[in-house]
Assembly symmetry: D2
């Protein structure tokens, strides 16, 4: 039975406490927050959990095996590092931290101490994303041509990070996961309409090599909530609509093929295929629960880490390059390949 | 009664013949096509119209006042120029021609001879686009922040022009029209999946000055047909779905405002507004008919030319810059301001 | 080559002329209408077709083999009977006529003379309805439990027939066709809101025997157009949405089963099944063309008559009973079984 | 501060405990359930609440002012009657009880003792239903013609009551509320497919006088969840889609009018109006919370009882008549007018 301490009881904290409390392999023993009111609320829900306004109280406890960091992003690096140095396994809400340098510190500290460091890229634990990965890996879609993703709604504006750091971690973690690798470059066009210094709308183009292109549109300024990803392959096409409660994935048996041999003097021949549409039923277990179980399995050494520190680093490398591209007027920024964390490390 | 000759009887030709035949102010007297079969078909529909496989036969006729050019884009410049030189008013299917140089030749020739040169940017004649322009001009949406447009479906692939030249003229003509001006720069990411040398997917970012950004996604490789434009203003937001038969425009009374004066030491205060949605009923007259009538009105000197040659030039300047950006790996290409044709000239 | 005369050039007449003109096996030689204006219009479209304001001119011609009756329903019986007596095969727009007695006259006359009498129940020629019939016949949906159909929109109000006679022929012909039989009874609740004496809203419940129930809602007074039929079977369920251009049929792999043996003292055990959804691609040929070809095939003796006079009689028997139920305050009216025409006769 | 006891901790019980705990004017002091497991669960959530497996323990407590009955419907009458006899105000989950006789016992007992008896017709506390009532009362829709309601999904099958008693209380309570009265008759067609003796699909037609018709379709056997009510008025039409999270009500500015004076020898003239669509933003407070507050207000004498015992009686009178109609093959059953409880009593 793993004993967990949770730092930060805002939006995600309570959900993480609930999940780690309900799992068989873990127990939440303490939580902390700067607000005594939030702590009182947690106490009213979970009488047996200790509380403190100082997260160091959690780190000091010998009976805490692992720590969950669900505080604002700008605090992730310091808190997670302190936790690792205190010998705790660490689960951090996305993004893992706010720069490659910060994340690298965390990854290095985890490696040194042999502790598990995991980032909460929740979407890679959804049934929908794993269905897509399964279809791609099995070759059902053919070669992947391009992916176009839209993640927009009205609000909630952040003060300390722009919309790229707020929303794009979802898309980049999904893309790296289903494509099994890192982009080679990213170009980003963005603008801040509500505040000049914080971009609230951005368009990213990621190049994944072998011609695979991914486009990501993120916005806090859109009249309705859209969470849609279109995957276009040489054999089939797929639309993943995360807002739909029951029909998240539609697989279109549609495509275009070039006739393999054609007379260069003659017409250019294409063959269009228009076929059935298939909407697979998906398991509806809570992704956060799957992520929490995955953290326990990683600690137990059963899994290599679908969103281990290395995967978190990969996402932050892309976000940092996206920011650089914004500052350079949208010029594509190369992402130098290093030992990738996307593949299990 | 204006007498019209129509060159090219493929897809658009017959629709233009039908409309110019039905309007009170015009009459179609002759049409030409390279295919005798197409001409026979037109003859079976309109017994009174003369036909020829050689378009020069149309240009030679003194009783032809105006010529419609509905041939493939790569032939537009030569045919339209010959028509102008023969003293005919000219209506050209979009795009007006395939380079700024080609279009400039046409605009200059029209100016020299005092003839009307118009390009068939059909969408600027739709009730929906004019409703949007009216709302923007009346300030109902507030300041325009950004516009995001998607125009994708499966096929129909072109051989001689890429997807930018095929589909983006619609978006660029709409954008220039409703924003009342030209973009200052365009950055385009694109790729050819079916054929290396012809881009079938592209993402354009246009900067219209004063922070106004427009993003356009065009693709021949998408599982379903989408024709959607989202206009985000400081007061209201709007979704224009051209595929919807009866509910093309939805106006969202939604927005975010920054509190005008706020304590820099305190929290950053935003005020969200979530209000009603309003779907105005739109007139459903055929846009092509409106465009044809507009051509007649321009010739009669009644209108300045909503899509006159200058407007066609503006669109081609953007497309040419988009192509340059593609070849330069997506770098933004500036569009040097000249006497704009978007405003009526 | 069958020579066709068309009586009535209102809405359906021109569509029937177009189809019979384009088919290889037939040719339209003459059409009639009370309005000389309509005849002029038809002449402008089809120069080679003779016209007359008197339909008897068609019946008198020896070179006319078959007649299409596309006049208002209250004239169907007299015109079709005259045509049969003149030795012509007859295709009548739905409903075949306005009472069982009228239809019986026609069916008897056709039988006597060995001529083909067919009613234009267009929907039984659609790819969607035939897909449903195929699924039911193949047992893919299991036992059919019930069918619920909605056919409503705003307008177009009729003067001489109520909404049951106007819209329900579609549903009843579909139901009889896919269920392969006649209902045993019909109960109808209806009301006339715009005019007291002409029902504009009606709800029909048809009992097809062995517990199979069909419910049909028809209305001229509904804010949006709905053409939806839900088929619930013991194995699978199906939604047929005729308004959807590309996704007319959705097959739900969903169901409930009672555990075959269960302890009567214990709980009642049900097993729910929630599975995939499947949207088959359907052929998009024009149903009216298929119906016209079917008429030619029936005359040639190749087919038994999917909507032959007997099928038209079956539909009218149901409509007449529905009217009787309306006048009797919604009481179910039995439909006495006679030699059914639904099965091919 | 009103002290509440809750009997039954299945699905609704916990939601009622949560709401009565959070309201300012009430406090939950005890709950009971036959299952000790459910009680343990409630104890883990609300440590301060006493529990018992015997509901009489609640009734015996002097410090309990009011009792909530959230047990299976067949137990409602006995438990609610015992509670009233013990001097407690009573809130009963819908349906109030399973026959007019049972409900009359409760209404009489409440009247005798001057206690509040209320039934949880949750929908009459939703923002959507109250918006509709407001529009009707203000005459915005004109005269109401008819209402068509559909409440279907797959499962959850009940053992002791049929689908009419399970789902139709929602529709009947909404209809009585927005139309401000009782139907004069109800005709019901129904069938049990999964179990012969428990109808799982039913179609009800209710006549509300002055020609107003309401049609209700309820089913436990439908492939997807539909909760849709269409209200057709002489001026405007409205669609209420309870499944839509953000766009529950659409108001169509559409209609048909008869020309007031028209030549009886001439054509019948109708005027169609096709206008805008309007989707009002609705308050999204939890309806159950509003219902609980309403109960407190009724006890405090501030409100007459939007769903007081009389309203519950009215609903049960309709359901009982619907059952009688089912047993009589769908014949319309009159509902004798008595002092209606729909108007506040």
């Amino acid at each position: 039975m793993l004993r967990i301490g949770v730092i930060g009881c805002g939006y995600w904290g309570p959900n993480l406490i609930r999940n780690f409390s309900q799992l068989n392999g873990s127990n939440v023993v303490m939580c902390s927050d700067l607000s005594s009111k939030r702590l009182e609320h947690m106490k009213s829900l979970y009488a047996q959990i200790d509380t403190s306004e100082d997260f160091h109280d959690i780190l000091r406890r010998d009976d805490v095996d692992a720590v969950v960091v669900a505080t604002p992003p700008q605090t992730h690096r310091d808190i997670a590092l302190a936790a690792l140095q205190a010998g705790k396994h660490v689960f951090v809400e996305k993004p893992l931290a706010l720069s490659v340098e910060e994340v690298s510190d965390l990854v290095a500290a985890a490696k040194r101490s042999g502790l598990t460091l995991m980032v909460g890229h929740t979407f890679v634990y959804t049934a929908a994303v794993n269905k897509i990965k399964g279809l791609i890996d099995a070759g059902e879609l053919g070669d992947i041509f391009y992916i176009s993703s839209t993640r927009v709604n009205l609000g909630i504006f952040q003060e300390h990070i722009n919309v790229v750091w707020d929303l794009a971690p979802h898309d980049v973690s999904i893309l790296n996961y289903i494509l099994g690798g890192m982009p080679e470059s990213v170009a980003t066009q963005a603008h801040g309409y509500i505040r000049d210094d914080v971009e609230d709308v951005a368009f990213l183009t990621l190049r994944y090599g072998r011609g695979v292109m991914a486009h990501v549109q993120v916005s806090w300024l859109n009249p309705n909530k859209i969470r849609r990803t279109i995957v276009v392959g040489s054999k089939k096409m797929l639309v993943y609509d995360d807002v739909s409660p029951l029909e998240k994935i539609r697989i279109y048996d549609k495509g275009v093929s070039v006739m393999p041999h054609y007379d260069t003097f003659g017409e250019f021949h294409l063959s269009y295929r228009f076929g059935d549409i298939y909407i697979p039923r998906l398991d509806d277990s809570e992704p956060l629960k799957v992520a929490c179980q995955h953290f326990l399995d990683c600690i137990a050494g059963k899994e290599g880490g679908r969103s281990a520190g290395g995967a978190g680093l990969d996402v932050v490398r892309v976000l940092e390059a996206a920011d650089a591209s914004i500052r350079d007027n949208g010029r594509p920024i190369e992402i130098v390949p290093v030992g990738s964390g996307t593949t299990e490390d």
